[in-house]
Amino acid sequence: MTEHTPLVEINDLAIKFGAHTAVKNVTMDIGRGRIMGLVGESGSGKSTIANAIIGLLPHAAQISNGSLRFDGRDLLSFTAQDWGKIRGKDIAYVSQDPMSALNPVLRIGEQMLDIQHLSDQSNTEKLANASAALEQVRMPQAQARLSMYPHELSGGQKQRVCIAMVIMARPKLLITDEATTALDATLEVEIVRLLKELQTDIGCTMLFVTHHLTVVEELCDDVTVMYQGDIKECGTVADVFSNPSDTYTRNLLSCDPSRIEEKCRRLPIMSNLGLKELADPETDRNRINNTSRPLLSVRHLDVTFRKPRSLIDILTGKPEQRVEAVKAASLDIAPGETVALIGESGSGKSTLARAVFRLVPSEKGEIDFDGTDLLSITNAEMRPFRNEMSLMMQDPIGSLSPRMRVGTSVIEPLIVSGKASGLNLRDEAIRLLELVGLSADFVDRYPHEMSGGQARRVGVARALALRPKMIIADEPTAGLDVSIQGEIFNLLAELRESMSLSILIITHNLHVVRHLADRIVIMYHGEIVETGTTENVIRAPKHAYTKVLLEANLHAKYGV
């Protein structure tokens, strides 16, 4: 076809799931050689469009209107055989999770050979192609990687392999669905840079589906903003980001905490943009009670995991395999203070939290909570302390018992601690849910009947049931949309003021916590490498890793 028509032409496309319309009469073009970013909240229909272009819509989906053309050909009239000829060759797809996209029992080289099974080249030539592709994705020691298994690579390297596999066929269109979401900030930057370089190297067109605005701004030429199945705005990145014409886009941009330079006490949210309230140093100082001793004081804590030895290992005298997850970590939290513990995945930050609750055994060190060393007391003596601190797990839905109603889950801590007698439990459940801004009818819902943000609120309600002195929140905003992130943080900020809570937030997202946290603690490979007030750490990072992290996290443009 001619070089002047767009590569993908979507005209008036509507996709239905039963009675629910996921995509409403969408018209969108992707120009040749352009990188198109498709942004929107979860459930906005962006993945549905990506799946429609590669013909992988679920069976329940029904295209009720419109046309979808790729390179001048009508995709809607394609048979299974037609798709077989075009998928992987002309249109390639990189999925969200590099961990599950590769076959764990095959070497990288075998998987990259396998994907070329249609070509009649010899295996040596195919292997040469594979190693060339790995070099193209800037994989260090490409040749050696071919004989490795996926588990021997890091997450970022796995995603590189996935990208190398799809670009071997020189596709005309590369679709990536949240390809950087599962990666840490530092890795995300690497992959984004790589995609950008690839685009100039092999000149393919790209559709980049994400909910992460900063990445789009960095990587894409064009951007399409979706909301509830509708396209709200479409244009070049420069135009849309500097001068959004649509209200939704404008609101979305103003809600992104990474775009708010000043430290905020309340973050603006979609439903209430006026909520933005700047942080007041005076209030913050009053909130923190620095005069008394710290509420939680962790001193030189070591947590070591041992791999159990089998009988044969013991008989042959094979040494025990040990993994030092936390090494000599020290950390203080004052009453009323909010501390952010930041590090990449695998840095031991969640393990540290679990060790405080004695969910994992500590090797040595001290965990002093309100004057008592938690490591030197028995399990029974530990029980009252479990009422004074709460742990919010990472997965909002997965941390609620799936066969239990929300109302029952929320008051579980009361029952477990034996404080339920004399209370009307249903009323108590409603009170707690209303405290976190959920209506009373949530009492009878099941965890799977809620969205991630709602389940997260339930998690907060449960953490507050016993009026604890401290909450440890493990990735409280992971997987949530920008605006919902803000809501959860505002909720925590409100609660810490009204209940004088100490909060430890574990996260890898610097953008958001810098508004909320009084102090930042950076963890790297099991060690705490830097501690300081939020302002100091962001303005003048000392440790090399902190610098890398800041560079990856905060856009240079926003002055930090």
């Binding site: 742990l391 997965g398 066969r403 579980e412 601690s417």
Partner: protein
């Protein structure tokens, strides 16, 4: 707990929904009808049987189906239909008792194996696998040779040979749940082990186990019929599907209806229970649920 009333109500509607879904396909409907009939007949057999199943009537022997004897008579003139009904009683009694005993032992041991030390776990697994590696018929013959044939012996054989599979299933399920975030959240709250096991793990484990159990019922019925057919199960003159088959087998050339009338329900219930189990699995599997 809170809202006991509404909880019960919705649990009832959930059961009703499952039954409605079961009955929505012809195969599901048939298996529900057959299984219900199996148990109803099993319970009421003594009242609905038209004749005494062990009363001899030599002159009327080996009659074909008539209005008086719907399924004819056997070699000593006993009414085959009545014998079949009372045989159903034995079969359903065996199925329910043996499977529920095996289930209880299996769940208990499976949870212990998953939640205690590695050494206990390993030794229990060794025992489970040893028991499972026995061929069931050889095992049955040995046990019967030692203790003599009786209904209780059959129950014992079935329990011993099936509980390891429940225990293994429960153990794997518990192991995968043990590190789930909601279980860890319970531990962080300070919930006791019995509470975690009963309130949070048991409800999530019981579903798959019940499905396996419903598929195991045909096995029990088959073992009983097989052993009785060999003369090693239920003692004559007590009727059971196996003894009826055995009786009819000698006369299969001239009077095939005796074998047919015992064989057909045997096949039908076996298929019905297996289908029911499979349908239940499809309906209850949260991954297949929309």
């Amino acid at each position: 707990m809170i809202a006991q009333g509404t909880n019960k109500q919705t649990r009832l509607t959930r059961v009703r929904n499952v039954i409605r879904k079961l009955c929505s396909t012809p195969l599901g409907l048939i298996s529900v009808i057959v299984v219900t009939a199996f148990f109803v007949v099993g319970i009421t057999a003594d009242w609905i049987a038209p004749y005494d199943p062990i009363k001899l009537d030599i002159p009327a022997k080996l009659q074909g189906p008539t209005a008086a004897h719907w399924l004819g008579t056997d070699q000593v003139g006993r009414d085959v239909f009545s014998r079949l009904l009372v045989g159903t009683k034995i079969a359903s009694y065996l199925a329910v008792t043996a499977v529920s005993i095996a289930l209880t032992i299996g769940i208990f041991l499976g949870m212990i194996a998953a939640f205690t030390s590695r050494w206990v776990d390993w030794s229990m697994l060794l025992i489970f696998d040893t028991v499972r590696s026995f061929p069931i018929i050889m095992f049955a013959l040995t046990v019967i040779a030692l203790f003599g044939p009786s209904v209780n012996t059959i129950i014992g054989i079935v329990v011993i040979s099936t509980f390891p599979s429940y225990a293994r299933l429960v153990r794997t399920q518990v192991l995968s749940l043990r590190n789930a975030e909601y279980i860890e959240a319970q531990r962080a709250m300070g919930a006791s082990l019995p509470r975690i096991l009963m309130r949070h793990i048991f409800p999530n484990v019981i579903g798959p186990v019940m499905i396996v159990a419903s598929m195991d019922i045909p096995l029990v019925i088959g073992v009983e019929a097989g052993l009785s057919f060999l003369g090693l199960g239920v003692r004559p003159p007590t009727p059971s599907w196996g003894t009826i088959l055995n009786d009819g087998f000698s006369f299969i050339r001239n009077t095939p209806w005796i074998v047919v009338s015992a064989g057909l329900p045997l096949i039908l219930t076996t298929v019905a229970f297996t289908t029911l189990g499979e349908k239940l699995r499809d309906i209850l599997d949260p991954k297949l649920r929309r």
